[in-house]
Amino acid sequence: MQPPKELLFSYFAGQATTVQQKVISEWLAQPGSREVYFQWLDEWERSFPQYAPDVTSRFDEFKQRLDSGTDLRPQYRHSMPYEPRPLWRASQWLVAATITAILLGCAWVFSEPLLYQTIVTGPRQLRSIHLPDGSTIALNSHSTLRMPRIGYGWFSRWVRLKGDAVFDVKHLATHQPFVVETGTGLTVDVLGTEFSVRSRSTRAEVVLRRGRVNLRYKALNQPTQQIKMKPGDRVTLDERGTLALNSRADTTRFAHWRYRLFSFNNTPLREVASQMRAVFGIKVLLSHPELERRRLTGTIRAGSSDELAEALAELLDLRVSHHDENIIFSSTTQTPIAQ
């Protein structure tokens, strides 16, 4: 059945109920209804036009176009500024978020190498580091020094030491403190001075040569202990976490390794071997027990265990050979046992 025209008009105006829409939909399925539908649509548009176009000028344009006969389509004017699709935008956000997350993750994972410069010395290596403020750090073998890559000296002068080092700290006009952190909970605050720090996994030792330093020690669940050090003081921290102050330490032999000088005064070779072991972390083997009793006097300047070994070999007329991480001294007269 054919719905009344009013119904279709209110349907065109978007005011038909669902039931009425259904009626119209059923009617449109019937043949011949389309013509009526468009007839009424036309009537509706003429009754309630959205606007009145300028037909005359458009008609003239149209006639011109028919005359010229070109299939020249006027460019559709899209007055909208281009806007990316919301979904593309959503995926853009997704991409941005993912990249940010990855970057953050990388930054977190690699924050250590990114933010800190780490200097590691190997078993037979000494190194001196010149800091931008003029301070120098001499790093012994088997040591690790970590310092900020950026911002050193902006707000603080901060380094972390694991191992053995001598600090010669320049006093700045700003009185900016220099802070050495060790892994043991011992912290050294200085203004300008020369001192050495030795910190291994649990033990630590600080020797002050000149100036003043302030030690802070923070153990787990304990209040911070503070010690003010005077030149010549030597503070040790043992495995149990006790600090001991020795005020008459021998600073003449203050970290000689730093100068790459090794002084021996009638020292048995056995001792020299153990010193080398302490300084360079290498094992020195003597091929014959006889050699242990050989004594040595003098000062040797050496930058590495190899240099030192060469010098020793020359002084004592020994043969030096390397085996893995070991240095083997043997007497020249003696034929090598194993090679």
Binding site: A29, Y37, D42, W44, Y51, V55, L66, R73
Partner: protein, 232 residues
């Protein structure tokens, strides 16, 4: 009749004699005339014109239908200039591709259907940036246009009207000024005392709101959106 009586009267059962509450679309309609499905008797003159001079036929059709077709197209594209271009293109194609020769029903039905297809494609292109399906949109045979298609298109322009109606008054004004009046950002900005940037933002937001509403009602572009999810 007292006010109380009016309050208690059920709105679904209008009292006889009372004026029926009219939908705005009904206001000016004349009383129902016994219209029957006789296609296009008033087109007979034009039909004759086409047999002798197709160009004259096209011009006559243009004169008769250009305005209502534009009014219809603008319900879809919300842009006067674009609507008029669409309709003008349609008439040009009618003549240049000699589509008029293949029209079986009334010219009116063909023209409305074709302008709807064009407007629909243009809208889809604008909201989805998808290539319009230019090949089939001017097909003269009405078989391609299913009754479901008609209803869907009706639903679309009605949903559009609703979506535009739900914009905030200022945004709606900016939208209509830009698209109906064809005013530039600068002109709108001056007229509404806004910065051009604000005008642009209003327009962007308006289009994106409309797009979202249409997508929610699944009137446009879910297939396209799906593709983009897969591609993203």
């Amino acid at each position: 009749m007292s006010a109380n009586a009016f309050l208690f009267r059920s709105s679904t059962e209008p009292t006889p004699g009372e004026p029926k509450p009219l939908a705005p679309g009904d206001k000016l309609t004349p009383p129902t005339t016994p219209d029957v499905a006789i296609p296009a008797d008033n087109e007979l003159f034009i039909r004759n014109a086409f047999t002798t001079d197709p160009r004259l036929g096209c011009e006559l059709l243009f004169r008769q239908y250009f305005a209502p077709l534009c009014s219809h197209a603008v319900r879809f594209v919300y842009d006067r200039q674009l609507a008029e271009d669409l309709v003008a293109d349609l008439f040009y194609a009618l003549y240049a591709k000699q589509i008029y020769a293949n029209i079986k029903g009334s010219y009116r039905a063909y023209l409305y259907q074709a302008v709807r297809n064009r407007a629909y494609n243009s809208l889809r292109w604008e909201l989805n940036r998808q290539e319009p399906l230019t090949n089939e949109m001017d097909q003269a045979d009405s078989d391609s246009a299913q009754p479901d298609g008609l209803l869907q298109q009706d639903e679309l322009y009605q949903a559009l009207e609703q979506a535009v109606g739900q914009l905030s008054p200022q945004r709606q004004r900016v939208f209509l000024l830009s698209r109906f009046e064809g005013k530039s950002y600068k002109e709108i900005a001056e007229e509404m005392m806004l910065s051009p940037k604000t005008v642009e933002n209003h327009l962007l937001r308006a289009v994106s709101i409309i797009r979202r509403m249409l997508q929610q009602q699944r009137l446009i572009g879910w297939g396209v959106c799906g593709l983009f999810i897969l591609n993203a």
